[in-house]
Amino acid sequence: MPSSKVLITVNGAERELEVAPNLTLLDFLRDDLRLTGTKECCDLGECGACTVLVDGRSVNSCLMLAVEASASEVITIEGLADDGRPTALQDAFVAKGAVQCGFCIPGQVMAAQYLLQRNPHPTPAEIREGLSGNLCRCGGYVQICEAVLAASETGP
């Protein structure tokens, strides 16, 4: 099966690789680039654990083929902070008790990041709506939403 050459910028670093077409962006990030911060759960776009930013938009990376991301800019949870230090949003998650088992958290943070980029001062209802694509079985939604609200108040 022919593979395609893709040129993807991931967390600011340009990568040129041969990838098989039947590789999802999620598997590409986790297995080929060893960026395991993005998680695999339902693998059909229902749980949001695999959320990353592609060209500034939040997407479920399990529903994208890696080849589709050629010439795009991808940001994963590992690339959120510019200088390696956690962002105010990430700090807020810890401070507000939003982190329980933590498995859904990278996806939640990325979804929240996108939400705040578009809407820097969301209402609680808008936050719930914006994060509705991210499941948390530990049930930490109240704290997760509070963290996003707190981050929106303090700024980036």
């Binding site: 059909l44 998650f93 933590g102 943070v109 079985r137 049930g139 930490g140 109240v142």
Partner: protein
């Protein structure tokens, strides 16, 4: 010596391990990759109960990149069986699949793609067999036997699908007087854990034995079982347990760890098996049941007797379900004063996913029945539903189960707080209703936790504890205990968990036991250190008020060393106790809910939802709140939307995230309150008890009671989907 002036206990220290989780650095099992690792894929048949006619692995085995294809025939004969209580589960299906999803073969290959492709090439010829999928068919003598009688030698019930009949009770139900007898049948559905982390297992040959990585809540049991199945000494089996990405009981007991351990030794290489979410659903669920409750009341609402008969549907293998059923049904009467009780429960096999431990451990099921009963009586007797509970609740110190651990909390206080918070008695808007319910769970009855604390020469410390941090923040709380007891800063303490080779024995992380058991073990280890420090000070001729740092410097400046303390907390078996031991504490919870019901569509909106947890002492208030609210949200799942649906062949129809729905941010109640009662009356450090399960134990009866007030209809089956509520309303107007 002087202790740290800071009061660690009751401080909401930030979650240890929070930062790695929000930055993506936390390593879960699926994130671990070992060199020369093989990828494993399972082969299943799409059927509930089937006879395996033949398995042709030749095409798969000869495929490029495939290292080995294993079936039951390739394992040592007889195929080893394992389980936490009964050794009934084979490593791979033997001649028959007993539940939808049971693996019949496993492929190990150089890549995920090769393993997937090879798994597709394994040709399984099978014949569907009639199966047992419901309580009724499990009890039908004409039904096939789920479990081979040879596995139950000496068991008089071995030719039935009843694993065990349990009876609990006291007094004389038949002689008891009652002015009102309420008799109803309740059901609780099959639901699955749906941790966001699907199951994942890694094994590798190591040091003449095997090393296993698995997100288990119970590394020591895992070690014991793998050692037995492989015929290895414990010292040659190392289980590493990375923090689970959610467990809730589903990762308590072995599933495919024995299989991957075999594969690792067979191939001589590390192997990794990642289950899909669908495969995970097929492996774990909560025990479902039907409960027939007959409750007698006096005219003033006092409970006169409880006569309960229930059937709990386990799955194809016993796993820990028998224990779930025993523990919860032992308290089937609830936290009340009940002078006469008769509880008879059957644990039944079925050709379905083996049910296992699941947060609440049977309590959500039994409280669904006893709370709905008391609400029914309240309505018929014209007594307020909070009042009737206050009249019957056991008082602190009262032995509500005769001869056993008495009520260890001021439970009425929790009820009053919940009632106040929900606005009980205040006028209700049209279409709205309120409900309140309680639940009681026996905590660990036996067990042992050991901890080693190492105070380093620079005054920092490492705590070794076998507890699993699966979200409840055990790492944080145990560090707080050590910081408090040793008088050193919280940030100077590391906690090491999850490795049978380095941490001492812990029974398991379950039953909300760790704060009590492991917390006490850690505290005692610290006390041992403190005693040694006192001795040290005396030997060095130093004043007792010298600081820990100064003392250590004095002792260890020339020749380095450390001060080691060992602590343990054990609760031994009591042979004559039905549960093997008295509960070390009870987890009591109260839930109150206000709902708005749309009678046209049956949709229920949660306007306000309150949970009250009686925790003794909240060592980390923020952790308690997040656990309690998290449990409440999980409870809303089985209350309003979760149920596993099976077809006539025992196949799960709603397999996967698309059709098995759990609560999202948009399903949250408009308002949620989590209240904590702290009376320092628990056996754990500082008077703490356990917490974390309560929030979901009484959710269903509280919400259902509110729906009844809002709509006039009583529903005795779960979940309360819009369609179910709508149907009940339609029936009632006929």
């Amino acid at each position: 010596m002087s202790k740290n002036a800071n009061d660690e206990i009751g401080t909401s220290q930030p979650r240890r391990g929070g930062l790695p989780r929000v930055t993506g650095r936390q390593q879960f099992v699926a994130d671990i990759s070992l060199e020369h690792m093989l990828h494993v894929k399972l082969v299943h048949v799409d059927c509930g109960h089937a006879r395996i006619v033949s398995i042709d692995t030749t095409r798969a085995a000869t495929m490029c990149g495939v290292t080995c294809v294993l079936t039951a025939a390739d394992l040592p004969q007889p195929v080893p069986r394992f389980g936490p209580a009964h050794d009934d589960r084979p490593i791979l299906a033997i001649g028959e699949t007993k539940y939808h999803g049971q693996a019949v073969a496993a492929v190990a290959a150089e890549s995920k793609e090769a393993a997937e492709a090879a798994a597709e090439l394994v040709r399984v010829e099978y014949e569907e067999l009639p199966g047992v999928f419901t309580v009724a068919s499990a009890l039908d003598p004409a039904s096939p036997l789920v479990q081979e009688p040879e596995l139950r030698p000496g068991d008089p019930l071995k030719h039935t699908n009843v694993l065990r009949e349990m009876k609990f009770g006291w007094g004389d139900v038949d002689e008891a007087k009652a002015d009102l007898v309420v008799e109803n049948v309740y059901s609780f559905p099959m639901v699955t854990h749906f941790a966001i982390e699907p199951h994942a297992f890694i094994a590798a040959p190591e040091d003449g034995g095997v090393a296993v990585w698995t997100a288990t809540q119970n590394p020591f049991q895992m070690q014991r079982i793998i050692a037995r199945v492989l015929g290895l000494p414990l010292a040659k089996v190392r289980v590493r347990a990375p923090d689970p990405g959610g467990a809730f009981g589903g990762k308590q007991h072995p599933k495919y760890e024995p299989l991957v351990a075999f594969l690792a030794l067979r191939t001589g290489r590390p192997v990794r098996l990642l289950l899909t979410l669908e495969e995970t659903f097929q492996e774990v669920r909560r025990t479902s049941c039907e409960i027939r409750a007959r409750t007698g009341f006096l005219a003033d609402g006092t409970i006169s007797f409880q006569d309960i008969q229930s059937d709990f549907l386990m799955g194809a293998y016993a796993d820990i379900a028998e224990r779930v059923i025993a523990k919860s049904n032992y308290l089937a009467c609830g936290p009340y004063r009940v002078p006469n009780a008769r509880i008879a429960v059957r644990a039944l096999f079925s050709h379905t996913t083996p049910s296992t431990a699941f947060r609440g451990f049977g309590t959500p099921q039994v409280s669904w029945a006893h709370e709905s009963q008391i609400d029914d009586a309240a309505r018929r007797l014209g007594i307020d539903r909070v009042e009737i509970r206050l009249r019957n609740l056991a008082r602190k110190g009262e032995a509500f189960v005769p001869g056993d651990t008495p009520a260890d909390g001021d439970w009425a206080e929790s009820v009053r707080k919940a009632a106040l918070a929900i606005g009980w008695g205040k006028p209700l808007a049209a279409g709205r209703g309120r409900g309140l319910a309680v639940a009681i769970k026996a905590s660990a009855t036996t067990g042992a936790s050991y901890s080693i604390v190492r105070l380093h020469w620079d005054g920092s410390a490492t705590v070794l504890a076998g507890t699993s941090d699966m979200g409840q923040g055990a790492r944080t709380v145990l560090a707080q205990v050590a910081a408090q007891e040793l008088g050193i800063p919280f940030d100077w303490i590391s906690v090491v968990m999850g490795d049978t080779a380095t941490v001492p024995f812990d029974l398991q992380t379950s039953a909300s036991r760790s704060t009590v058991f492991m917390g006490q073990a850690v505290a005692r280890a610290c006390h041992e250190i403190n005693a040694q420090l006192e001795q040290m000070a005396a030997e060095l001729g130093l004043d007792a008020t010298v600081s820990v740092a100064e003392l250590l410097h004095a002792r260890f400046s020339e020749v380095r060393g450390e001060v080691i303390g060992v602590g343990s907390y054990r609760s031994e078996q009591q042979a004559d106790h039905p549960l093997g031991g008295s509960p070390s504490f009870y987890e009591f919870s109260c839930t109150a809910s206000e709902v708005e019901a749309d009678e046209g569509t049956g949709e229920v909106l949660l306007v306000r939802h309150v949970t009250v947890a009686d925790v003794g002492k909240a060592l980390n208030p923020q952790h308690v709140e997040m656990q309690d609210e998290g449990a409440a949200v999980m409870g809303l799942g089985h209350t309003l939307m979760e149920h596993i649906l099976l077809d006539d062949s025992g196949r799960i129809r709603n397999l996967g995230a698309l059709d098995y729905r759990i609560p999202t941010t948009k399903d949250l109640p408009l308002e949620m309150h989590s209240i904590v009662v702290e009376n320092a009356d628990g056996p754990g450090p500082y008077g703490s008890k356990g917490a974390g399960e309560g929030g979901l134990m009484a959710t269903a009866p509280a919400v259902a009671s509110a729906v009844t007030e809002a709509t006039g209809v009583v529903i005795r089956d779960l979940p309360l989907t819009p369609e179910r509520v709508w149907r009940a309303i339609q029936e009632s107007v006929k």
